[in-house]
Symmetry: C2
Subunit: 358 residues, 2 copies
C-alpha cells in the first residue's frame, strides 16, 4: 500500500539519518535526582508530565517544552506525558504496563554501593516467556518464568514461587518494573537465596483461584523441572495480588509452604472490592481461627510487607494484623519507606526470596 | 512521598472501579478490515492517527474523537496517536518498538483458514530473555532466544538461526511484531521446519560484526545446547538487518551455511548508509567474484525476499541481484506483496525456516 511505504520510508530515514526529529528526548536524571523532561510540541497548548504529581512544562524556543521536577526517591516511578489533556506513554521511553494503561517509567539511582537491583557480573538466569491455554479464561494467556542460572546446566528440580502483580498491571510487571531476574541472580550468586523458579503470572482473570490451581500451576509443573509439593511452593503478591494470595492460601493451605503479602491486606471495611475479588473476609478469618495451629505449622513463612504509613494499604494491613494477633496466626512484618510503589515491592521480594525454601 | 500516594491511589481506584475513564479505547477492527479509533481528548484541538497515512479524527460529544480508516491489509501495522502535533504511542494498546520510538501496532486478521501466524493448539516453544555483557559495546545488552518445544524434554543440541531486525527497531521486533515463536511452533508441529534455536539480537551497535562474532555467538553457544558449526548456523535480517547480514557473511563465509536477506540489498548508489554500516560494497562484490565457487558451495541457501515493487528496498535488491548474476552467485528470490512491512517479514521467516538445516 502506497501509504505504508511513506510511513516506513519515513521510519527508515528517521532511524538512519536524523535522530534530531524525535518528539521527545529521554528524560534526564540530574545529580540531585530531580528529572528534566524535554518534549517538542510546537502546536500544543499545554504539556505536562504526571510523575506522582503533575508538572506543567514551559514552552521554549523551537516549540520545545521543558521542566525539571523535584528530587525523586530511588528506584522505579511510573510517569505519563499529558498533551492538552491526553495522557499517553512517552515515546522516548521504555514502556511499562501499569495503571491499566501503557505507561512510562523513570529509574532513579540507588545510593552508591547499593547494587542489589542492578545487573552485576554474576551468573545470569533466564526469563522465559511461555504461552499457555487457560481453561478458566478459555483463551491463550502468557506467563514469564524466571529460571535460575543453574537450570540449564543441571538436571535438578527446583522449588517455585508464584508471584502476582498489582491492580492495573500484568505479567510483565515483576519482570520489567520489578527486575525479578536481576534481584534473584544477585542473591543466588551471593548465596543468600536458594536457586528457585519464579512464575510471574497474569492476575487479570475473573477467577484467580481457578486460573492458578487449574491452569498455571499444572502448566509450570508439566513444563519445568519442579519440586511439586507444598514445602517447595510459595505464593506471593503485591496490592491486589496480595489479596488474591490471601483469598487462595486460606482455602488451600495444604498447597503452599511460603506466603508473601506485599503492600496489602483484606479491606478493613466492607466495600465492593471484597466481593468482587471473590473473598468473603469474615469467612476467611473464621477458617483461620478454626485451624490456627494447622496454618501456623503449614506456612513456614507468612511475610507481610508495607511501604510505611504513606502506603495506601497501611491501615488495611494494620487491621488484618490485629485480627491475626487475636486469632493467634503467626506472621512476620517488614516495613520499608516508600509508600505503595515498586521500590517497596522490589525490597519486599529481595527480603522474601532470602527466606524461601530453607 | 505524598505525591506518589495520589498517583498510585488513583491508579488502584482506576484499575479496580472505573474502566470508563481511560483516555483511549483499544482500536476496533471492523469486518471489512477498516479500523475504528476512539480517543477521549476534550481539551485537544487536533487529534490524528498515523497508520501509514495520517487520519484526522472528528470531535464528538463528551470530547471523544473518532475516525474509521480505509480497509487495511492483513497482519501487523505500526501506528501512532498524534495529539496537537505530538506523536506518541496509544495508551490503550500494546507497545512495539519501531521507527526509533515506542509505537503502537494493530493486527488485521488473515484470511479465514490461514492460521500460520496465530497460536494453535500445538507444542509450544519458549522465548528466553537473556542478558549478556557485550565487550563490543562495553555494557549489558539483551537478546531473546527462541527454544523449540523439544528443548526442555530432550538432551539434544540444536542448530541456530541468528535473526536481525530493521532500522529503528530492536531485539523485541522479531518477538512481538514478528511472532517468531508462533511461526516456528506451528511449522515444527507440522513437520515443515526442523526444531531449531532462533537468537533474536539487538542490532543497534556501532560494530555489528564484532558484536555478533565476539559476543553474541559465543554467548549463545556457551549457554544453550547448540550444534556449533557452519552447516548448523544461519544468519538473516530484514532491511538494515539484511545489510548487516550481507556485510558479515561476505567476509566470514566459513561461519554460516544459511543466509536470509529480507526486504534488503546493498544500496545501489553511493550514500552515507554504505559507509556508516561498515561495508564497502564494491569490496564485497570483489570478494564474492574472487571466490564465487566457494561461496556457492558454502551457502546452502542464500534466500532473498522482497515485498513487491512497493517495497522501498526493491530497486537496491534488483541491482544487487543483477550483480550476483553477473558474478555467478547463486540465490533464490521470493516476492510477496505488502511492501516494506512486518507481514512481508513474517512471510519471509515462514518461508526461510522451512529451508533451514535440511
Amino acid at each position: 500500500m502506497k501509504a505504508n511505504k511513506f510511513l516506513v520510508l519515513g521510519c527508515m530515514l528517521m532511524a538512519m539519518f536524523a535522530e534530531n526529529d524525535v518528539m521527545a528526548q529521554k528524560p534526564k536524571v540530574l545529580p540531585d535526582h530531580s528529572v528534566q523532561f524535554s518534549i517538542r510540541a510546537p502546536q500544543a497548548n499545554r504539556v505536562q508530565i504526571d510523575l506522582g504529581k503533575q508538572y506543567d512544562l514551559t514552552k521554549g524556543e523551537n516549540g520545545v517544552w521543558t521542566c525539571t521536577t523535584e528530587p525523586q526517591s530511588e528506584g522505579f516511578h511510573y510517569y505519563f506525558l499529558i498533551v492538552d489533556g491526553v495522557k499517553t506513554p512517552d515515546p522516548a521511553s521504555e514502556p511499562f504496563y501499569g495503571c491499566s494503561s501503557m505507561a512510562s517509567g523513570i529509574e532513579i539511582p540507588y545510593p552508591e554501593g547499593d547494587n542489589r537491583f542492578y545487573q552485576q557480573n554474576v551468573a545470569r538466569g533466564t526469563v522465559a516467556q511461555k504461552r499457555y491455554f487457560s481453561t478458566t479464561e478459555n483463551g491463550w494467556r502468557r506467563m514469564f518464568v524466571y529460571l535460575p542460572p543453574q537450570y540449564f546446566t543441571s538436571n535438578e528440580s527446583y522449588p517455585v514461587l508464584y508471584l502476582m502483580h498489582g491492580g492495573g498491571e500484568d505479567e510483565t510487571g515483576w519482570v520489567n518494573q520489578g527486575r525479578t531476574d536481576i534481584i534473584l541472580d544477585n542473591l543466588i550468586a551471593q548465596g543468600k537465596a536458594k536457586p528457585m523458579i519464579i512464575a510471574m503470572l497474569d492476575g487479570n482473570t475473573r477467577d484467580f483461584q481457578s486460573e492458578l490451581l487449574k491452569d498455571c500451576i499444572p502448566f509450570v509443573e508439566k513444563n519445568f523441572r519442579v519440586k511439586a509439593n507444598a514445602e517447595n511452593r510459595g505464593l506471593a503478591g503485591l496490592s491486589m495480588g496480595g489479596i488474591q494470595t490471601l483469598n487462595t492460601i486460606v482455602p488451600n493451605p495444604e498447597l503452599f509452604g511460603y506466603v508473601g503479602i506485599f503492600s496489602s491486606g483484606w479491606f478493613a471495611s466492607a466495600n465492593p472490592m471484597g466481593a468482587s475479588m471473590g473473598g468473603d473476609t469474615e469467612k476467611m478469618y473464621k477458617m483461620l481461627a478454626d485451624r490456627k495451629d494447622f496454618y501456623n505449622k503449614q506456612f513456614k513463612e507468612l511475610f507481610l510487607t508495607m511501604g510505611g504509613e504513606t502506603d495506601i494499604a497501611y491501615n488495611n494491613c494494620k487491621v488484618m494484623r490485629g485480627r491475626f494477633d487475636q486469632i493467634g496466626i503467626k506472621y512476620s512484618y517488614f516495613e520499608t519507606p516508600g509508600g505503595h510503589t515498586w521500590p517497596v515491592w522490589r525490597e519486599s521480594l529481595y527480603q522474601f526470596a532470602q527466606k524461601l525454601f530453607k
